[in-house]
């Protein structure tokens, strides 16, 4: 028994020593190795509650890298899975910083992204967030100043929430809304605040607001309560897993009014959960739709289909744009020097599949919001909305 313990302790010591040297090795690694290979970090939610987004974004990013390499580039990827968990994201951010990457794309959601920003900024690694939409996401929460090395290519929640309110009042002619929000995400909180503010400003009333927890499956009790209220539109700021079930249960209960939501609705899983026949009179805001696609977008869709044999969604497109933007910046900078890459991103005039944009002073793009209409679960129509917010 005693010898066993000794053997075990020795093995442990050896392993620890080995792992320490391993760490030392990787931190001395430079992003541009002697053979000229440039490492790009892809940090996504590949498992866990929002795995759909992370996997779609990984595919988008990998397609961009593949195309860049075919065009003569020399890029490799370092892929990490944060399991949709903020703590895990912090650990991986530190890991990426020591991996010596030229830049990082991801994570997909606001919560996990925010967890990585301080570390990435301190380590001077440029991060492009494809879909971190939370309000003031790119600002340091303590100083209120923008993180120098953090960028995102999506509009922020307040903008998206306000656009939905504008659409509900102006186009759908609604005046009485019930909000059923996810209580466990910053994303939903930002949307709820911005939507309510804009809806009230345009003369509408918020009849009731209630909340659910991420992972809930039973919404019948709250929907039964809502059914007794006098309202003409239901807003569900949240993600597809719960939104799909809420829509299904609401429709089965006979809540027939318009249902509106954010880009968290954008997933095939929403259709599976809600059932196509329940997805009528459903509208959501998004940065991306294939309805009325541009040439660049069509080329992306064709390449994506050829590669993965499936239709790309918004998240894949945003990640594709983010990755291309980073590559373009590295090429413009002509080196992987952190300062040069950051400056190149700051001054970029980017032409992507989700639109053309440059960054404002908060490192957020200036873009318009699209509102998509679902007809039997299929995107029927898309209109651009620019809310007049002050």
């Amino acid at each position: 028994m005693k010898t066993m313990k000794k053997v075990f302790m020795t093995a442990l010591a050896v392993m620890m020593a080995a792992s320490m040297t391993a760490c030392g090795d990787s931190s001395s690694d430079s992003s541009s190795a002697s053979d000229g290979t440039i490492k790009i970090g892809l940090h996504y939610e590949l498992t866990g509650s929002v795995a759909d987004y992370g996997n779609a974004e990984l595919k988008g990013s990998e397609l961009a890298i593949k195309q860049a390499n075919e065009a003569g580039g020399n890029y490799t990827t370092v892929v990490y899975d944060n399991k949709s968990d903020t703590t895990e994201s912090v650990t991986l951010a530190a890991q990426l910083a020591s991996d010596g990457v030229a830049g990082v794309v991801g994570p997909a959601t606001s919560g996990t992204s925010a967890a990585t920003y301080q570390i990435m900024n301190d380590s001077k690694v440029t991060v492009i967030s494809p879909s971190a939409t939370a309000i003031n996401q790119t600002l340091n929460p303590t100083s209120g100043k923008v993180y120098d090395y953090v960028f995102r290519i999506c509009f922020e929640d307040s903008y998206q929430g306000a656009a939905m309110a504008q659409y509900a009042v102006d186009t759908l002619n609604k005046g009485k809304v019930v909000i059923y929000a996810d209580t466990s995400s910053d994303y939903a909180k930002g949307l709820t605040d911005a939507f309510s503010a804009q809806f009230k400003k345009l003369g509408g009333t918020v009849v009731a607001t209630d909340y659910y927890n991420s992972g809930d499956t039973d919404f019948n009790s709250v929907l039964t309560k809502f059914k007794e209220l006098d309202f003409d539109v239901l807003y569900i700021p949240g993600y597809y897993n719960e939104a799909g079930l809420i829509i299904k249960q609401a429709r089965e209960m006979g809540i027939d009014c318009e249902i509106i939501g954010p880009d968290g609705f954008d997933s095939e899983t929403l259709i599976d959960l809600a059932g196509a026949s329940n997805l009528n009179k459903v509208y959501y805001t998004t940065a991306y739709t294939t309805v009325g696609a541009s040439d660049a977008l069509q080329a992306f869709i064709d390449a994506y289909k050829a590669e993965y044999n499936e239709e790309p969604g918004m998240f894949a497109a945003l990640a594709y744009d983010s990755t291309n933007l980073l590559i373009e910046a590295i090429e413009k900078a002509g080196s992987t020097d952190p300062e040069a890459v950051k400056t190149a991103v700051e001054n970029i005039e980017f032409d992507g599949v989700t639109g053309s944009f440059s960054f404002d002073e908060t490192h957020t793009p200036i873009k318009s919001v699209l509102v998509v209409t679902l007809v039997d679960g299929v995107q029927g129509d898309a209109v651009a909305v620019s809310p007049d917010v002050d």
């Binding site: 498992t47 866990g48 909340y211 927890n213 019948n220 009790s221 799909g244 079930l245 089965e252 959960l273």
Partner: protein, 292 residues
């Protein structure tokens, strides 16, 4: 009033699920004084077995229910044999920690095999809504409630009227004395795990059918709620688990329906705390004197 009755229907549907899961907790606790924390995950596996049977084999609701119950019974017995039986004479905390380990093993294993994301359970039969004087009852809700009641009656019959049931009750009172009387204690404990797990499997299929959304971690929260239901009714007492299950389901629904849904879980845990302070033996439990 209509809204209240509607909420009762919602609560009874939810409560049925808790009750079925709670029965497994209570039966296992009754017989070997183990809180089987892996029980919620058996329920999750039941949902996945149902999912595989309906999507891959294309079978209907009844075969899915039966196969899932049989599959879960087998898994329950296997877990008991591998993980709990060697610890039968160890301290209770050892067995409890093992149960938590088994729980994580099942969750992580399912994530590995079936993927971590949400899977959509197919609609195995047409869901119609019956409108009865302003009340809306779906055929799914009726099926859930009916299956639960039938299974509970069967269980009650099994425990009180059959030889196996008598053996279970004997082992639960005093395992050593039962062994002296010629009861096969190991077989009886296995049988208890089989029945409890089969009920959890049935609950899993019903939940898959009702909410059509299943994932590898779906057993965690309902598992804990069902445990509270079992404690509420008096852990180890079968009718107590049924009562507790329905009670917790209805309380949760009413809190969400008339208060705020943010409070529903908090209220359920508050009930657990109150029960443990005021009547630790549970609603139907008798205060037994400690035998020295």
């Amino acid at each position: 009033m209509t809204q209240f009755l509607q909420q009762m229907i919602n609560g009874l549907s939810l409560g049925s699920i808790y009750a079925l899961v709670a029965l497994g907790y209570t039966m296992v606790y009754g017989i070997i004084k183990l809180i089987n924390f892996a029980h919620g995950d058996i329920y999750m596996l039941g949902a996945y077995i149902g999912f595989i049977v309906t999507t891959k084999l294309g079978l209907g609701f009844v075969p899915a229910l039966v196969i899932s119950m049989a599959g879960c019974a087998l898994i329950g017995v296997t877990i008991e044999r591998i993980a709990y039986k060697p610890l039968r004479h160890a301290t209770r905390i050892t067995a409890l920690i093992t149960a938590i380990g088994v729980s994580y093993f099942l969750e992580a294993g399912t994530q590995r095999v079936m993927g971590a994301g949400v899977q959509t359970f197919p609609n195995v039969f047409e869901n119609k809504t019956i409108i009865l004087g302003g009340l809306r009852i779906s055929t799914q809700q009726i099926v859930i409630f009916a299956v639960t009641i039938v299974l509970m009656l069967l269980l009650q019959f099994l425990v009180t009227k059959t030889k196996v049931g008598r053996a279970m009750r004997a082992v639960s009172v005093d395992a050593d004395a039962a062994r002296l009387m010629g009861v096969n204690v190991d077989a009886t404990i296995s049988m208890t795990f089989a029945i409890g797990s089969a009920l959890a499997g049935a609950a899993g299929v019903l939940v898959g059918l009702y909410y059509n959304s299943i994932n590898p971690l779906m057993g965690m929260l309902p598992g804990i709620k069902a445990f509270i239901a079992a404690v509420f009714g008096g852990i180890g007492i079968i009718p107590g688990a049924m009562l507790g299950g329905f009670f917790i389901g209805i309380v949760e629904t009413m809190v969400a329906g008339y208060g705020s849904s943010l409070w529903k879980d908090a209220v359920v845990y508050l009930i657990l705390i109150l029960i443990l302070i005021i009547k630790p033996a549970g609603l139907l439990g008798k205060n037994t004197k400690e035998k020295v």
